[in-house]
């Protein structure tokens, strides 16, 4: 498994979000505010977001960890940590 740095993880998140909500402008996302307040996504979109992260990063994100993906910052932290732990 590849080790990703913060920037790479952030790009992967933007790609995953962009595939679901093409109107999203990454530069407009406030990193410490909940993503769902800034992007119009529902639970179906969110599940697809998780699936895309799973496909790209090869990690399985359990439902109980969904809260860690609330903001861009927390999502980056969480995914960097998870990817490193899976090494």
């Amino acid at each position: 498994m590849t080790l990703y740095n913060r920037e790479q993880i952030q790009d992967i998140i933007f790609d995953a979000l962009g595939a679901i909500a093409p109107e999203v402008e990454p530069a407009m996302i406030a990193p410490d505010r909940p993503l769902r307040e800034q992007i119009d996504i529902d639970s179906f979109d969110f599940l697809n977001f998780i699936i895309r992260l799973h496909e790209t990063l090869g990690i399985d994100i359990p439902e109980k960890d969904y809260a860690e993906l609330l903001t861009l910052n927390s999502a980056v932290e969480y995914l960097v940590r998870r990817c490193a732990a899976d090494q």
Binding site: A21, P22, D42, S43, F44, L47, H54, P62
Partner: protein
Amino acid sequence: MYEFHMPSLGADMEAGTLVEWLIKPGDEVQRGQVVAVVETQKGAVDVEIWEAGTVDKLVVVTGRKVPVGELLALLRTVGEPAAAAPETPKTPGTPHVATAPAITAAALPRAEAAAVSAVSARLRVSPSARKLAEELGVDIASVQAAEPGAVISRADVERAAQAKTLTPVAAKPAAPDWHAQMRMAIAAAMSRSKREIPHYYLATNIDVTAVSSWLETENLKRSVTERLLPVVPFMKAVALALREVPELNGFWIDGALRSSASVHLGMAIAMRGGGLVAPAIHDADRKSLDQLMADLRDLITRVRSGRLRSSEMSDPTVTFTSLGEQGVEGVFGVIYPPQVAIVGLGKITERPWVEGGAVVVRKVATATLAADHRASDGHRGGLFLAALDRLLQEPERLR
């Protein structure tokens, strides 16, 4: 000879433009086969035929706007000789496309007809392609389809976008129009609903702790791609509860209720950037949760980036809306005519709950029903919500 007519793809449709024939004279067709693409205010729809046979004649040419109910094609049914038999009226055994909402279109306000003709100038574009063009700043009128007469697809738009790379985005062409179309369609259907249907409304709080924990355990066992969305067990419970109160499942047509033996659950699905459709998940009461999840996934994906099928548009027997996503605690819906009920589910929240004389914290959701008082009474509606509550207490039996 079987007559294939322009189906009504919902109460808000008066006419549709035939964008493409997928069959030609002499072709064999099967029941349920997609035979044509029709452009409606809610986007392009794959139209199915509900009779098997051989295509005898295509009556309408592509590009024409056709009123609901007009003859589109003639079909020789199985065993019928090539020489045309006397035309028979449509049989009651083919309910999918032709029946229910057809008459409803006539009652729609004239404003809608104007709206339909406004689109005809820029037809032959799939809605997702139109949206993509808007996003990429491509003038949809300048996009060429891959082959003459074909529907402009996302790929065509992408090609056009590449051709004009680095050209700064000038105008946003199709967007306002598309939104206006969608709003017009919703306005017509909802105005008619509030004008004609005497709604009554019921609400009840349901303890959903059992179903929530069951789902949590179930999803823990599943890989991310196999997980069930929280709404899925509710869909099943709603469909099963409707079987117990058939007055809520069906259509009000010609002054009478026509209950449906099948539960085709219309799922209210928001479209990105506004608007909504409520296409059917067929026979929801008889499907497993996995099948319901697969169908829901397929449906939402096609609502947002593909094409719906005519049967999904025309035959939901009831609508289910779960606005809980946005944090709404209760939703009192507007019935989509000629249906007779809409079931709503609010957000699941932890609330104080009295149980055995003590106050405990439970996961609770508010389930609502808006129903047509011509077709049912509050007492029956109440029984439906009670059945829903009961079914949700035994989630393992919803499978």
